[in-house]
């Protein structure tokens, strides 16, 4: 019961908190694409793959008191930071086993910028296409972000690293 909620809490606890809604969205999408059993449904939105269900679930977890949402003023924008509360840590224990086989994956994802995760998630969204077509599509849907060939290469390498 409430196992899908518990998976989110478990992941945020493993990542030792996540700064940024966009970042959290992309981290979970990337893991889902790599076979981690998150059940939230994703669609393509402004910043690439996005799950309304995940947004709802995180808001619910904040209302339940299992997650703490803090606002950080970054000057030109605000950023939301999520951490697991004491009550949330207890709730996490209702999960039979951790969502991640190797917890260090959470740290690897968390160490990346949200721009890089947006790029990686978008490439994964198009993974049913040939690589050349994926990159072409990336430049169409993310024209304003001007991703460089180096960034794209790095994103593919990162995907490979996560797959191992």
């Amino acid at each position: 019961m409430l196992q899908e909620h518990a998976k989110i809490v478990d992941f945020i606890a493993t990542a030792e908190g996540i700064a940024g809604r966009k970042k959290m969205q992309k981290m979970i999408y990337i893991l889902k694409k790599l076979g981690v059993p998150f059940q939230e449904k994703y669609e393509f939105h402004i910043y690439g793959p996005y799950s309304e269900e995940l947004t709802a679930r995180v808001e619910e977890l904040c209302d339940m008191g299992f997650l703490l949402e803090e606002l950080e003023d970054k000057g030109s924008y605000v950023q939301y930071k999520y951490t697991v509360t004491q009550e949330g840590a207890e709730f996490r224990n209702t999960l039979k086993e951790s969502i991640l086989d190797s917890p260090e994956v959470a740290g690897k994802l968390n160490s990346k910028s949200s721009r890089f995760l947006e790029l990686t998630a978008t490439l994964l969204y198009f993974d049913h296409m040939e690589r050349e077509e994926q990159i072409e599509k990336l430049h169409i849907v993310k024209a304003k972000l001007n991703f460089t060939p180096e960034e794209i290469k790095e994103a593919y390498a990162f995907i490979e690293e996560l797959r191992q």
Binding site: M1, L2, H5, G20, R21, K22, Q25, Q39, K41, E43, F44, H45, I46, Y47, Y50, E52, T55, A56, E59, E60, D63, M64, G65, F66, K74, S76, Y77, V78, Q79, Y80, E87, F91, T94, F126, H128, K137, I140, V141
Partner: protein
């Protein structure tokens, strides 16, 4: 004449209770409507299990898809036609995307997708790009045409005006389903002045905006949507039927995995249980097929599968209570233990369900949500986000409403064996302490 511009000798019309008539002149559209994959939508209800609450809600995804097509046809041919900011060459792609946007929906989609971890959008793409009648028809327009239609539906198409007509906070999909679902459920919500909205829609740069003079019609549309969600789409009794439907599929899968010998083998489901399904197997499923299995499973020897099937077919649904998961999740664990002691499997007979909706939201630079806002076009050419001008919309912007329910079979707790434990369960449920 090339296939893309071929017109029917005589215009075809569908009589429709929402739009009165739906007009088809393009050969491509007519051929798509007559394809196997599109006709299959006649056998999938638009509102899933809601017919068990609103008996009129038996309408199909076929009629909704035609309705979305008709709204987009009117926008493209009547409202946007001749406007310099609208690219006329997009007409056919947007009409096809409107008609086909729900093509990948399966029977009782919501439950089916949850249990089998599939996504109807992937099936839509497969139908458009795979070996299907629809694909053959679209390919006659152009080799890359099926891909273009698929991109519009997946929201990755380069022309954002085209995408937003099918999918945005004020799109043809929502405008049709709100009115259609209101009509067939018989509720008095869901009505708004679509005529007015269509007349004030304008293509502008990479979006579709609404003339400020149409703001009140848009307010009405947003409030209609809000009311429909809470009065119809999230109706707790329809959710009870959804819960039971999920449990039937979950049980059938569990039995299959454990090697149980079905009296009626679940042939149509086996590929989904084993995750080896193909598009052909997906398309072979519809609600008629599923209901037939449920009727046959009512006599299976497995007591859970037969009971759940009987509950769905004969509308013996679960009761429900409100609960606050933040406060009560531990009690939920206690309750599950009591169910076990009472000989009732909590995995099937004690089910929590939550649902939530965000009626309207707008993009704020930085870290907020990802919804494209509704923009109003002011008389001086300026663009303003809707909630900045509308107090009604401002009041509900960004405010999510969530509802939690706990479902259980009340009649199994009334009498029989282990009465004392059952009484304890009933007391806990009555207290609202879960």
């Amino acid at each position: 004449m090339d296939y893309a511009s071929q017109k029917l000798k005589e215009e075809k019309v569908f009589k429709d209770p929402v739009h009165r008539y739906i007009y088809v002149r393009d050969q491509v559209i007519w051929d798509l409507v007559n394809s196997r994959e599109f006709q299959r939508l006649r056998r999938i209800k638009q509102l899933g299990t809601s017919y068990l609450v609103f008996h009129g809600a038996e309408h199909s995804r076929f009629s909704h898809s035609l309705g979305v097509y008709e709204i987009v046809r009117r926008i493209s041919d009547d409202m946007f036609h001749g406007r310099p900011e609208w690219d006329e060459s997009e007409r056919l792609v947007v009409l096809c995307a409107a008609l086909l946007h729900d093509l990948g929906h399966g029977p009782f989609s919501h439950s089916f997708e949850k249990v089998f971890h599939v996504d109807h959008e992937n099936f839509t793409r497969e139908i458009l790009l795979g070996d299907t009648e629809v694909h053959k028809i679209l390919t006659k327009v152009g080799a890359d045409f099926p891909k273009k239609v698929a991109e519009v539906i997946a929201k990755t198409y380069s022309n954002k005006q085209v995408v937003s007509l099918i999918s945005s906070q004020i799109d043809a999909d929502r405008m049709d389903y709100l009115q259609r679902d209101a009509y067939y459920t018989g509720v008095s919500y869901g009505h708004f002045d679509m005529e007015r909205i269509l007349r004030v829609m304008r293509p502008l740069e990479d979006q579709v905006v609404i003339k400020a003079s149409g703001m009140h019609a848009v307010e009405d549309y947003i409030m209609s949507r809000y009311q429909m969600y809470w009065q119809v789409y999230f109706h707790p009794v329809a959710r009870s039927a959804e819960v039971i439907l999920r449990k039937i599929l979950q049980r059938a899968k569990e039995l299959h995995d454990s090697g149980y010998e079905f009296a009626q083998p679940p042939t149509h489901f086996e590929a989904f249980f084993d995750r080896t399904f193909t598009l052909k197997e997906y398309l072979a499923l519809d609600e008629g097929v599923m209901m037939t299995y449920f009727q046959l499973w009512m006599t299976e020897s497995d007591p859970i599968l037969s009971d759940m099937s009987d509950r769905f077919v004969n509308r013996r649904l679960f009761q429900y209570v409100d609960f606050d998961p933040g406060k009560d999740y531990r009690k939920l664990g206690e309750l599950a233990s009591l169910f076990k002691k009472a000989g009732i499997d909590p995995d099937y007979y004690l089910v929590d369900d939550s649902t939530s909706d965000l009626p309207y939201d707008f993009y704020r630079p930085g870290e907020e949500g990802e919804r494209l806002p509704i923009h109003l076009l002011m008389p001086n050419g300026e663009i303003k986000e809707l909630s900045r001008l509308s107090q009604i919309v401002e009041a509900i912007s960004g405010k999510r409403r969530t509802d939690y329910k706990l479902y259980f079979p009340a009649e199994l707790l009334v009498d029989g064996k282990k009465k004392a434990i059952k009484q304890q369960i009933v007391e806990m449920l009555k207290e609202g302490g879960v």
